[in-house]
Point group: C3
Chain length 670, copies 3
Amino acid sequence: MRAMDKILYGVAYYDEYMPYDRLDADIAMMKKAGINLVRIAESTWSTLEPQEGIFDFYHIDRVLKAMTDAGIYVIIGTPTYAVPSWMVLKHPDIMVTTEKGRSLYGARQIMDITNKSYLFYCERIIQKLIEHVAAHPAVIGYQIDNETKHYGTASPEIQREFLGYLKKKFHNDVEEMNREFGFNYWSNAIHSWEDFPDVRGTINGSLAGEYEKFQRELVTKFLAWQSDLVREYKRKDQFITHNFDFEWRGSSYGVQPDVNHFHAVTCLDVAGCDIYHPSQGKLTGAEVAFGGDLTRSLKRNNYYVLETQAQGFPEWTPYDGQLRLLAFSHLASGADLVEYWHWHSLHNACETYWKGLLSHDFAENQTYQEAITIGRDFQKLGESLIHLKKENKIAILVSNESLTALKRFPFTGGITYNDVVRWLYDALYEMNYECDFISPEYTCFSKYQAIIMPAFYCAPEETLIRLKEYVREGGVLVGTFKSCFANENVKVYHNTQPHILRECFGVSYDQFTVAEEVGLVGEYCKVEDRELVNGFMECLRVESGNEILSYVHENWGQYAAAVINSYGNGTGVYLGCMFSKKLLKKVLQNIMDKANIIQNAGSDGFPVIVRSGTNTQGKRIDYLFNYSGEKQSAWCPQKRCQELLSGKMLQEKDLIVIPKWGVIILEEVL
Amino acid sequence: MRAMDKILYGVAYYDEYMPYDRLDADIAMMKKAGINLVRIAESTWSTLEPQEGIFDFYHIDRVLKAMTDAGIYVIIGTPTYAVPSWMVLKHPDIMVTTEKGRSLYGARQIMDITNKSYLFYCERIIQKLIEHVAAHPAVIGYQIDNETKHYGTASPEIQREFLGYLKKKFHNDVEEMNREFGFNYWSNAIHSWEDFPDVRGTINGSLAGEYEKFQRELVTKFLAWQSDLVREYKRKDQFITHNFDFEWRGSSYGVQPDVNHFHAVTCLDVAGCDIYHPSQGKLTGAEVAFGGDLTRSLKRNNYYVLETQAQGFPEWTPYDGQLRLLAFSHLASGADLVEYWHWHSLHNACETYWKGLLSHDFAENQTYQEAITIGRDFQKLGESLIHLKKENKIAILVSNESLTALKRFPFTGGITYNDVVRWLYDALYEMNYECDFISPEYTCFSKYQAIIMPAFYCAPEETLIRLKEYVREGGVLVGTFKSCFANENVKVYHNTQPHILRECFGVSYDQFTVAEEVGLVGEYCKVEDRELVNGFMECLRVESGNEILSYVHENWGQYAAAVINSYGNGTGVYLGCMFSKKLLKKVLQNIMDKANIIQNAGSDGFPVIVRSGTNTQGKRIDYLFNYSGEKQSAWCPQKRCQELLSGKMLQEKDLIVIPKWGVIILEEVL
Amino acid sequence: MRAMDKILYGVAYYDEYMPYDRLDADIAMMKKAGINLVRIAESTWSTLEPQEGIFDFYHIDRVLKAMTDAGIYVIIGTPTYAVPSWMVLKHPDIMVTTEKGRSLYGARQIMDITNKSYLFYCERIIQKLIEHVAAHPAVIGYQIDNETKHYGTASPEIQREFLGYLKKKFHNDVEEMNREFGFNYWSNAIHSWEDFPDVRGTINGSLAGEYEKFQRELVTKFLAWQSDLVREYKRKDQFITHNFDFEWRGSSYGVQPDVNHFHAVTCLDVAGCDIYHPSQGKLTGAEVAFGGDLTRSLKRNNYYVLETQAQGFPEWTPYDGQLRLLAFSHLASGADLVEYWHWHSLHNACETYWKGLLSHDFAENQTYQEAITIGRDFQKLGESLIHLKKENKIAILVSNESLTALKRFPFTGGITYNDVVRWLYDALYEMNYECDFISPEYTCFSKYQAIIMPAFYCAPEETLIRLKEYVREGGVLVGTFKSCFANENVKVYHNTQPHILRECFGVSYDQFTVAEEVGLVGEYCKVEDRELVNGFMECLRVESGNEILSYVHENWGQYAAAVINSYGNGTGVYLGCMFSKKLLKKVLQNIMDKANIIQNAGSDGFPVIVRSGTNTQGKRIDYLFNYSGEKQSAWCPQKRCQELLSGKMLQEKDLIVIPKWGVIILEEVL
């Protein structure tokens, strides 16, 4: 069997970081835990190239040999996201220059990824490394760089490149730029390209948004360039992946602001990501599902979780059962690899308290004990669980441009783009509706029965026209406040809002405000429920369709808060403000019911989450997860199936009791 | 009739910012709303001088022509508060250098207003512009620059100028400076002028205060210089004004720290300002009254509100009735012009969500609808309402120097100078006592029956002597804690506090502290009212007069908190600490009663505010405002008068019902 | 009698800062208050050397003369902690360069104490000054510099010196450094010394910790160098001291992060410090005791309080009785000098509101009145109270290295090293257990019956072995969480924790977490007491000994929270987490009872604090302090003694009533 057709259970392994020679001992512990993959070499450039042009593959070679002997697969990471000090001392301009000036050496991810000296060294180390390892039988694939971003690069050189980019965008017509970006404001207009100022000081949201878009494409280009380099040397059967990450709020939270994942993924064979999430009493599975759904959507295929926490931060040390619950949660979203960062806890530097599977003493701690059961079950059930496929009926439309623009033009009250995305995603997740993610450039809207469009602020007309067509032909479109407001250049549309989709949603508005104790009332919500608007709100006028929610307020009571409208063969729903997730779930359930979109069966929703798909044998797989510290009841959602862990056979509606932090896996019996 | 003898109702208008040609459509909408003035050109330098030395008055010309045709007056703003990028690329030192280094290009108000290159370009654009427009009949006046400040300028050049200023101040005697500023402390003394260090690092409050005073005078000089330039070209019948603004706390709050308005106003024909204020449920009218009273006091004459919000920030979108209430509130303080910033909401850049009278779609929104009624009533009632004059009996003494010093030596608990000013002002405002503002240099104290002196920390002996004389001759002086403490050089007086006014107030103290649960008791305040001291408190000993308030505390109970004292023919009142506005109102009412100073009649105070004056026909005008969302009762304060909006005749004590957020205007019938 | 054999009662005096000639008037007031010492010259360099190489001892001379005439002793401070501006203008690199770049001139303590130009000027002014004053009879000693620290110095020059230091530490073997500091992580390894990067950007906790240790030794060297300079010129009978200070949290709080007091003290004759503390209702005496115990421990001898507050910040203005209570509190810890910073309140600069004994008006305020009583009693009782000696049975082991490391690897919840130190110290203080402080290098552990070891994170093996031996031989060792975790290079130990002391404490653990509502239960603590873990907690497994506290939690209930264990002839106690001080006191009392360690008798603990010692006549002295605003009862702890202030004789168990904020002093009658 190909390595890629097994469930891969891995760890990031750093022979270089060990306080003493642990290789044999570690491998024995890995084997005991069923670990069948390690990722190595990532971020170890100063070990691989200790002096300029001198290469040392000692650690690589000994680990590869030992892993081959042990039958453990290896992913080789290119080491480029942390640079050696000799390189920076020789070429100080390798350090990224941002709004705050030039970075000091020390951390990772502080170089200018467009700097020519950096690229020269990158190219050489990648070539040397891949050439050295490509033929090795244990090596099944490559991770290029790690969590790559643009690091805010704004050196004079890159700004010059940006100027060229703008000239091209505006057909060399500086006045077109002035108009489109509104540069006349505050005397920002330029009338000759050489007057273009340092972009770091700009107060113009259009220019700032364009620069961030440009910066994101630097990441796309850099990864494509690395991918091409690796591809020259790698074997055909070896894959290329990358470890994408998400907006970080102390844990993985939302759409990544600094990378366009949909663009950057094109150079990869397999999409990959890392997912770090709250744990203990705060574990809900939402981040695992969110990150998984998003990463799966990138190539519309299975993906790799290249990093996730074993113990992680001290406040994340998992309760008994949680590590196991999480491992299967990843598979349930379509992951084919679950890899811990990292094998052992570090004894020095700065991530000493981001603990690995092993603690600092390398003993068999409680978490490792649980990993043993996971490895065993992955091995046992691998054939049934690998390559899980999904055909979701709902898509969430996400937009890097909107995220960026709303950083500059925030909702009042500290709410951000990703809060709106997660508000909707989490409601669906808790209701057991699974979904994909799509970008504004996605062209097959009709594949979905419903599209959810959170705060689609920077909305190109082209996309809006296609969305309108989608509804006319029968689609359900759920939009929110702050959607369709500006174009792709963060220029606000100057006709009635919501632009283009006004008839589709059956609403218009020309004023909005921020709620001070504004209530909500409607079909699913009585005045005495005391549901309140959360922050920003649009003063909607209903032009067709039905008011779902109205405002309760001395002055704003005259306006609608949410409207549902028939348009063509489809339905438009517009939510003019944010409110409790509880009420949102009622609203969404109603919409889904009308549209005849059925959620995964088996539970009444969170904390029992049901995730579903089809395995390589064409059988339906249902995962039932209990994300709580109390045992929970559920029922069998399939006609006839087998509970894979126990082997028990079940029939539809059979009662299922899931222990606290437990998981049940059902495989269809055909 | 002269334009200046009509009530002007205006908007800031930017043809340059329009997403498409709106001029005719906009003018039609302005006419419909009774708008009879626009301010243009302000901040559009990059449009007016697209390349160095190339001038383009396209937008000016077309707007002037269209406005003339429509009978709409025009104020021309000099465009100098936002610089074009070509200028900065050529002369990087135009960007202001502050404590944080040199600014990056992008925002407005980031230039060094003393930089010679900047001044060269300013002079040229002003001359070209004014020369170009001066003869135009629609142009009735000029606004020089906008919200000018010193922007923290601290370049080596300006510091050299400051050194010259210090030499002059100290008669070239460096030891005099050492003594007066206390430079021996921490080895800061210099014994030769060339040893004068970079002022940006100073820890000396006297030097820092002097530097800020010097910086404020840079603003005075800059405006005077612009005024002289404009005056060379303008017609005699055209006025010069400037848009002053106030300490900003998300809205206009208090005395402007960075400009000495009393000094800077001398070069103007008409004082002007912008006032932005909380709205919706937080609208009280206090900021409109405060800003108006202060600006009216500058030239002791009517003034222009050159900017105020129409919709403003999303959280400010006015409730029905509020825009109208506010328009008349400005007139009631003596404004002759009410101008919105701005006509239309911007589609790009950074103030996209500071919404104008029109929303982004240019439709007739709810706020615009209300503006129509204002324009109509301004036109109808203009003759009665224009040039309202006041003869206030109370003055509040404000001091830039005290404000600056108390930034360095703050009250504990985050209270600042302007908090004390507003504590007293707002109490008077809510009691329907109107007042003027005066500076320490003001010489006609006897014009007022009472002077209120909040935290007059930096008090020149000369002023204190005049204040003492004022009381001896019959005036009422209400002083607070932290008054008369230091001289104009922020040197603490070294004899018994309060300096010079000790006998006038009948108190002295040599200790102070910060209250931890210290109560207050007195004639208007029982122990069981649980009135508490708010922060800083002085341990007053009564030397003559009567204790109004005493402290309630195990240790501080031995001291007085507030004292009233007869001195000569007058009265001194000293408040040793801050406390609730409710208690303050009782204290003030008592003082005013004793001094026989009567507030405006017609209501029992906030939320019904009465503002009063005399119109050009010598008739008394009373405005009764209801700053609440409930209808309120009031009574007719005049013998015989006409309610101007309804035409109804009223007699003294007649009941008046004011609708929520409503206004009643009464004109005396002689 | 030698000056040093009297109780010294002093003030910092600055003739240089006076607004007018006050010398005679001040001396008269000092005499009235019994003040017998002034510290002068400190921080007045710009007065002493007004221009480069020109010296002016005018103020020194006149003050020395006047003090001699008045019989007041003088300490001369070297003026070097605030530099004149001429020096910095000539040698800009005297200003310290830190992570944030080079400082601006203005404040004190902003120079690079290793800069050669600075040292040149220091040497000259010290030589000139000491030569000038040494023979003067009033001068009894010298304070070198003031509150010296390294000010974050990180200039290229000092980094080069650091590189030399590292080469020496690692025997010129760069790979040894890579291994010990874990530099392979994130590609930080260097393989040639010239690749060593700017240390300011490092993310490596070992390197950062080593750099801070190196910086602390710069302070040690600088003070030793100054001491040597002074020693060349001073008379034999004159002492050298220094004013150490503590971690600052708006008042003196804990172990000083930037100086190793145990090292720096070696060049001094007498240890000195300043202690500033909360006052009024927040006065507990804990800071006075903490700072005193720590400073007394440095030379294991009496010490000088070179600065403490008279009035201090406005919120510190003492209640009646508190100044007096505090003066005796210092003596009770072993101070021989109590000196106020400062005589008079400053009229300019930045510490205007750090008020001295006199207010700005130089009048006899309430605080000064109280000082008169102190001076009188110091004089009267001096012979009994001077040179108080203590033989404490408990020592607290403190570690600069642990403090530094835990800044980089903080406990979750904002708790820091010094919080743990104070948690334990304050509990002992409130229970009337007195203690000394020791460093990890201290070699006579057996002097103590118990050693308390708060968060001894960076624990050299050598010290741990000695501690183990200490317990085996009968000592009581109380350790906490985060102890024995890493070595002196902040490298985490890679075997079972707690390293080396596992058998001594009878516990081990390999996981830890952060408590979310984790309860505690045990012998002194029922579940219903609802005692909760505060933040970080270790999951202890008991290997021998008895569980004192267990966790109450669904997942963590399986682990112990605190354990007591017999080991050899001694006892190890390990506290795995932090909890309330109330519970800690119960735990500690129990440990002390078992170990037969008796606290000072006379009260049931705070707010009545008993501090004890032996005077020069070999008589026991007991101080009983009432740190509260209510009178308190205590009892006579001695067989037979005299109450020194009243002269009354007392016998054991006699009732003693202490007035609010009062003090009782008992001298043994032999």
